[in-house]
């Protein structure tokens, strides 16, 4: 049996306080398509970046084709026959395809000879693999699928035998995905080794020979694709933790508070991110949205919160139509009783250089209670923060401490206190416990249920399946921007959820197999 193409052993990597890879080992056989799956932040991209020499591991070894290799930078990786197609394409938009492909492999001081050689290789490869790419096209004018082909060609022209693709299907249409998979199988058939990093379960099943699953920086297992199922993989990915016991009585849903009809959102590139989402949230109930991250949940929350403008569909609050992202900006929506705990507290929910008390009034700084007229009464702001810190048990309870210096759980409590304490009619809450310690999780869950019992409507987005199931009265599952199903937590199980999360269900269109 030949030596494995890749053998990573005991790879450990920390970024400051974040332990991104914990003694991870990975073996990939030559000539296979190998999947690497895990949730956001599971450490897959870090592991691949280490393999490609973009980051240096703190410890651990790498052997390529059985030979121990020191990969200190991308140049070493390229030299060892490794090519990587990054999720965000590493292309120079103003360059032509030829220029992009030859960058770093120009073959001499002048570019003329190298360009001719690269052009010839490109044409040969395009022909051989049926990858239709015009070598003189300027990259900024290419469609996403073409950009990916350029990235793959770039790696192949530089002689890659091992090809890493990071989330290659995130931006592709189903037919493009199909074409890509045909290509990858073919490359593998010719002896090349392919690693696909993704969180899309269905695709992994379609194209890979073997799958490795990562969770919270650790490698939790490698399985033969033929012996597994999307549901099994979902379980491995999400992990079966100590069952969350959240004490809650039965819900008592009242009038409809949030009514979303056919809501459709496109991103800056025009790609559909949210596709005709339709659902309602009533007063006194928690509606949870489950799904692997990146399937339209963020866009859903941000649109209802007034940060994005939808491309189609309607949103109503208490029966009144909203103009989200237009006249109903976040300020106007707050006045109407809508509160929003953003998914990413670092990017949106807090201002890290501010002292805690100042972060605790983000979005509320115009409230009359915080001072007369144009002034901001610091004492009032501090007193308000102290009250909230006590109510939510924030530690240390020092409102003058810089926001960035609180632990994740305490930062999250500051955001929650800010939004929940304002007695919202509707609370949008994204990833309530991401990066939060166990103790704080229980506290936060109790608060959310308390809000429901007080007759408020809650829309909860979480990629933690356990959390969604434990908290919600109804669960909607999203995949590819669509709502693929609705379940009551008591009527479902992880297998069922896994299938819905993978987009496999009777009421959802089939993904190309």
């Amino acid at each position: 049996m030949p030596a494995p193409a890749i053998q990573m052993t005991g790879i450990d990597k920390r970024f400051g306080a974040v332990h991104a890879n914990k003694a991870v080992s990975l073996t990939v056989e030559k000539g296979t398509v190998h999947g690497l799956i895990g949730e956001n932040g599971a450490g897959k991209s870090t592991l691949m970046s280490i393999l490609y020499g973009f980051y240096a591991a703190d410890s651990g070894t790498i052997a390529i084709n059985g030979k121990p290799s020191l990969i200190r930078n991308p140049a070493d990786a390229i030299h060892s026959g490794i090519g990587m197609v990054h999720q965000h394409f590493m292309l120079v938009e103003t360059f032509t395809v030829v220029e992009n492909v030859m960058l770093g492999a120009e073959g001499g001081v002048f570019t003329a000879k190298g360009a001719a050689a690269v052009r010839a290789k490109l044409q040969a490869l395009s022909y051989a693999y049926g990858m239709d790419v015009n070598p003189d096209a300027v990259v900024s004018e290419l469609a996403v699928g073409e950009l990916q082909r350029v990235e793959i060609l770039k790696a192949l022209v530089k002689g890659a035998d091992i090809l890493i693709l990071d989330e290659p299907t995130a931006v592709l249409t189903p037919s493009e995905v199909e074409k890509l998979f045909v290509l990858l199988r073919r490359l593998a058939g010719e002896g090349k080794t392919i690693i696909i990093v993704t969180h899309k379960l269905k695709e992994i099943i379609t194209v890979t020979d073997r799958v490795s699953v990562m969770r919270r920086g650790e490698m939790v297992g490698t399985v033969e694709t033929s012996n597994t199922s999307p549901a099994d993989l979902a379980e491995l990915m999400v992990g079966r933790r100590v069952v969350l016991t959240v004490e809650k009585g039965p819900a008592n849903p009242q009038a409809v508070v949030l009514d979303v009809k056919d809501l459709t959102v496109r991103d800056a590139r025009g790609t559909i991110r949210l596709d005709h989402a339709t659902f309602q949230v009533r007063a006194g109930e928690i509606v949870g949205i489950a799904g692997v991250s990146g399937n339209g949940q963020s866009e859903l929350l941000e649109t209802i919160a007034g940060i994005r403008k939808p491309a189609g569909g309607t949103v109503s609050l208490n029966g009144a139509l909203l103009d989200c992202g237009g006249s109903d900006d976040p300020t106007a929506l707050r006045a109407k009783g809508l509160r929003h705990v953003p998914e990413d507290r670092h990017r949106m929910g807090l201002v890290k250089p501010f002292e805690a008390a100042e972060s605790a009034i983000l979005g509320c700084s115009d409230e009359p209670g915080f001072g007369a007229g144009p002034f901001l009464d610091r004492d009032a702001v501090l007193a308000d923060c102290v009250r909230k810190m006590e109510a939510f048990d924030v530690r240390p309870a020092d409102p003058t401490l810089r926001t960035a210096l609180f632990s994740g759980g305490n930062q999250q409590k500051i955001v929650l206190a800010r939004e929940i304490e304002r007695d919202p009619k509707l609370l949008l809450i994204g990833q309530p416990t991401r990066g939060v310690d166990i103790g704080a999780i229980e506290f936060i869950h109790k608060r959310i249920i308390g809000l429901r019992d007080a007759g408020k409507a809650v829309l909860l987005v979480s990629t933690e399946l356990d959390e969604v199931l434990a908290l919600s009265d109804r669960v909607l599952v999203m995949c590819g921007g669509k709502i693929t199903g609705e379940r009551r937590p008591e009527d479902t199980n992880e297998q069922d959820m896994g299938l819905l999360m993978a987009g496999v269900s009777s009421d959802a269109p089939k993904v190309a197999a």
Binding site: A17, A305, G306, I307, D329, P330, T331, A332, R334, H340, P342, R347, M348, G349, L350, V351, K352, P353, F354, E358, I361, L362, G363, S365, D366, F370, G371, P374, F375, L376, D377, R378, L401, R402, A404, L405, S407
Partner: protein, 368 residues
Amino acid sequence: MSARTAPVWLTAGVVPLVNVAVAFLAAGLVVALIGENPVEALQIMLRGALGSQYGLGYTLYYTTSFIFTGLAVAVAFHAGHFNIGGEGQALMGGLGAALVALSLPFLPWPLLLPLCVLGAAAAGAAWVFIPAYLQACRGSHIVITTIMFNFLAATLLVYLLVGPMKMAGSMAPETAKFVPGATLPLMNQMAAWFGLTITRTPLNLSFIFAILAAIFVWVLIWRTRLGYAIRTVGANPDAAVYAGISPARITVIALLISGGLAGLMATNEILGVQGRLINEFTAGAGFVGIAVALMGRGHPFGIVLAALLFGVLYQGGAELAFDKPKITREMIIVIQGFVILFAGALEMMFADRIAALYARLTGKLVAV
């Protein structure tokens, strides 16, 4: 949870002091390079700037201008923008004051003087409006546009002073004298009202304005809702959008305030000292403002101190040039350059090392 807040004396005291000390060390080397004794030079400067009522008056007169321009840079910094156009906005401030003074000479002084001061601020703000609008709404880089507007202001002023606004019969590029009601009293005159006698220097009422402006900026930035919005936009534009604060709107407002403060610099030189509009009266104060704001770390208290330091440098430098002809007044510009370099562009070069040293000494890990 390893990092703690570094004590204020470390971040706002030791780090900037080390940076400024290095800048002065570098300037000392230049003095040594031209064959003079840096220590002696420093003594002469300090004595010249602070050793007499006369010196102190001049020092504070220079300080006045630098407080205004330093505050102008700082307000824009808090909103995340670099207003490099203080020089041009100050020139236009002079024009605004002069236009009011020359066109409404019949008004009584209690009306005319405030209007002149307002004219200065309004003209400074107006001059930054186009760059601010283009930055906020079309993304045109404000650094480049304000540089261009500096030159445009200088060119416009020359045109006006050798053309339409030139005093008839004068050879110099200057306007006619303002009526007395449009000028600010000198400090020695004001002292005389209270029966005090102090040496006559260019120090005038605008010094009080400058201190008030510093207090205004402190209140604005740290004690108003607008200031909160400005700082949010500067620190995290995404969070601002989440909060419902429009980054474009706040950018324009913050820059207008910045331009207005720069325009007020003209109250010192034009309304306080010259009593007429002259060419190139800013003499680089707009650029000193950058050094002052960087050294003062954007805080009005730090800015007043930094402006005072530059006031000492300017007055002391003049004395030094008198005593030691080899060290010309441009020595101040050299120091200013080193301050901008070490307290600005290389700001973090020593910060990490100081934090590491502090950690070694106290056993505490800190973030600077």
